[in-house]
């Protein structure tokens, strides 16, 4: 048993036990005067505040506040517990008021973006590791620019070397636009490969029309196209890994604001509860 598996087993068991304990406790709350919603509500507030603190921890990277990995573990498992707590707090019904509905939608969106982020952070890194050279995200445009320049040089060289404009024309018509900028973002994220197959097909077809002098030049150009695809792949997937935070974190801030409003409203208009 690996350490990671043992950790997941332990944390998962604790989570299941905590959920079971919560449901058991909630099931026994048959007296409305006990106000179980008040308990679950405050627990939920504390839980959301703790989850939001992870963002603060990440900003205080050199302050000895425990490792980020440990915080993330707590963040994930407490977040999962929060889903059940949230549903319990709502009494297993959809909210009715406007404020509560907005709050519920925000909670769902934050949870969904969090789970989505967790999913991509587990799924994408191995794919990145196995595709092309490892490249720093911010440097991808520079590499693409360099590839595009090299491809243009090859196309121009082909004219003088082969006394034919075929490769240069093909480059201008089919490849120049593709090589000039990052492309196919969605395709690389979702793994469709349609544009790749179309391009491969067109290039294979074109290659059959080339003479022996042109083939090596075109093969070099093909190699550049494949490297460009690898760069696109890295840019798209690394971008997704970076930018899902831009959904999760602002939604969290909005959730915190609406949670505060909800607390005020409940205490102001809650009939003295």
């Amino acid at each position: 048993m690996t350490r990671v598996f043992a950790r997941r087993l332990r944390n998962g068991s604790i989570l299941v036990a905590a959920i079971a304990g919560l449901l058991l406790w909630y099931g026994r709350q048959d007296d409305p005067l006990d106000q179980p919603q008040r308990v679950t509500g405050w627990l939920l507030v504390a839980l959301v505040a703790f989850l939001a603190l992870y963002s603060v921890r990440k900003k205080l990277a050199v302050v000895p506040l425990g490792s980020s990995a440990t915080w993330l573990q707590w963040h994930v498992y407490i977040g999962l517990f929060g889903i059940v707590l949230f549903v319990t707090h709502n009494g297993w019904h959809a909210p009715t008021g406007t404020l509560e509905s907005v709050l519920a939608v925000l909670f769902v969106l934050v949870t969904a973006s969090g789970l989505g982020g967790l999913h991509v952070s587990r799924r994408i890194p191995p794919r990145l590791a196995r595709r092309g050279e490892e490249v720093i995200y911010e440097r991808v445009p520079a590499f693409i620019h360099r590839l595009a320049g090299r491809a243009q040089e090859l196309a121009l060289e082909s004219v003088t070397k082969t006394r034919s404009r075929a490769i240069a024309d093909f480059h201008a018509a089919e490849l120049a636009g593709f090589l000039a900028r990052p492309t196919d973002r969605l395709e690389h994220i979702l793994g469709w490969g349609t544009a790749h197959r179309r391009r491969e097909h067109a290039m294979a077809e074109f290659r059959t029309c080339l003479g022996p002098e042109e083939t090596p030049v075109f093969d070099a150009l093909t190699d550049l196209v494949r490297r460009k695809e690898d760069l696109d792949f890295h840019r798209a997937n690394q971008g997704l890994l970076k930018y899902w935070f831009f959904v999760h974190v602002p939604l969290t801030h909005a959730l915190l604001l609406f949670t505060a409003a909800h607390v005020v409203v409940v205490h102001a208009f809650g009939g003295g509860r």
């Binding site: 900003k59 590791a129 490892e134």
Partner: protein, 720 residues
Amino acid sequence: MPAVTPRPKRWDHPFDESMSEEKAADLLALEPWKGLAAWAREDLKPAPAEARIKDLRRHLQNDARLLTCAEGEIVLRVGDYGNSAFVVLSGSVRVVLESAERGLGATVERKFDLRRRGFFGSLAQIWSNRKIVEERPPPRDGPAGGGRAAAEGGPSPGDDYVPIILGDLPAVLDERRTARITEGGIFGEIAALGRTPRTATIFAEGDGTRLLEIRWQGLRDIRRKFPPFKTYVDDRFRERVLLQYLRATPFFQHVGDTPEIRRWLEAGQVTEVLLDGVGLRASDLEPTSMKLGPQTVELVPIARARGWSGSAGIIVYRCDESEAGAQLGLGARAEMVRRLCAETGRKAVVVYPHGKGRLWQWCLAEPDVAEPSDVYGCHEGGGAGADELIQRLLREIALQEIGRQTDFHSYGEVDKTQLAAGIDTDPVIVEQGHYPDGLLLVRAGAVRMSRRLNRLERTVSYLGPGKSHGLAEIAHNWRHPDKPVNLQHTLRARGYVDTLLIPTAVIARFVLPSIPEDDLPPIFEPEEEAVLASADIHESLGGVDRSMVEFLVDKAFVNGTAAMVIDLDRCTRCDDCVRACAQGHDDNPRFIRHGPVHAGFMIANACMHCNDPMCMIGCPTGAISREMTTGQVAINDPTCIGCATCATNCTYDNIRMVNTRSQKGAFYIDAQSMPHMKATKCDLCVTQIGGPACERACPHNALKRIDLANVDNLAGWVRR
């Protein structure tokens, strides 16, 4: 608008600003400098001799400083990384000849305190980092004081030198085995030149003990320019380090108790044994004779040692008149021991051959015994303490014999280009298929272990300092001389490697007989060799793929004690590690999250804090050095002159030269419009209380600082 300032130079930051030319000239009249000057005058022509002596004086002026120590003041401590050596100018110092764990204890735990940030100090970095990236104070026009701490190295320890004084010096001298170093004596040079930890604690013996401390780069230059000094240092290196090394090697823990060594001792062939260290020589004591009843017994001291279980020291005597000794009764032996104890103030042990079976006997007593009846252990077989001493005595005899017959060999070069080359160009240390002519111990550097499969030589593992090779083959041949096997692997040096070779005959005589049968390596089955070779290539080393091992060896990453390994299957490329590093280093990260990749693992461009840091070798000012207590390689920014020698030497491109700027953001340039540079690199967050920020900042445990000298460290992490 750039700020034009003079370029920093080699001696802009002398070791001690108050060290004048006159003081340096005065030092030339004292040993050992006096001897070196005399050598120059005798062996060189007048003009070069004077130039060399002038050079020596400049080194003393710029690379040395005078210290005056109080009685009992700790000068250096065992385990600290040494960046300087010391010469006793007046008075004397004492070397504690105890192993580290039995040394002076917690009282000398920490002499220099790095200015580590506390919790609130860490928090304050968030807003107190410099506003301008790589901002520095303006370079000074001319020499400036570096202060003691600056010269000691470390990133920014400040002047935190806190002298530690031993409280009860007489008790320490009485209870601990120490050796004296007097005027003209040098100490600390081995650690300083070898970039290794100190091997002993040394303290001043009297008030006003005057020492001259020389930082390592000055010592290095003097050693290079004065051959007698080089010879002196090298000889001491061999003499001191070898025995210490052998003692510290677990392999030799059981060495010694063989019939041959017992015979030597019984036959009186052992004249002197140095127990546990240097300096305490039994030959300093005179033989003594003792009249016991009608007999006169001659007693020759052959060994001195610290007492076991922390008790007082011991002297081991050989009773030369064996027949007389044999005739001594129990009471006479007790009386002999009691008198020896009273005379020496130590426990005494008498070892002598006795009777037909050459049985061992010894007598043992406390120093303050009043009556013979208080003497204990005075019988055949002895007490537990006596057993321990006898074992130690035998072990030391064996170790010294092994040491005498051990050869030193060095392979490879401290050369970046050699490290960059492949397996074929690595110098061969021993070759597969050759006769195992000795046990090879790696003392420093990294060794590639390879094996031929068909015609291809493949790396199967690597050996770091402290590892040995050849025992399995030697043990096999010792047990089965009729079916000898040759070496199963080829060893090649990756960079500069220091080795010890203990001849096969010595191993067979002194080592193998003392190893229990169960602890000996398994017997080789030669017919299985081909299968074994194939398995070597395909099996993994505790979870680490063979090809990964080859990658680590090829790229010489096995030199790293804190390599930044990133698991790319987990790394989300979030750059939290980079941001954390920047936060701890004035908003400029000290590494690049990029580097060679193999099997989904990246070795990032972050300083690995090498076992043998090549970056330190050429530094003209000694700005790059090991931090004293933890051994991290760190750059002392004020003394760095931006020559880029370290960055050029670094095989891994892990040192970055940065342009420095003024408070207003202007780049510093010199009169030739060349920018002022500073070397920067990962310091392993030595001033942060939580350890490396990069590792702590990784949300997915994808980044780890790993000592790659031992593949098990990597295997443990890979298997997690």
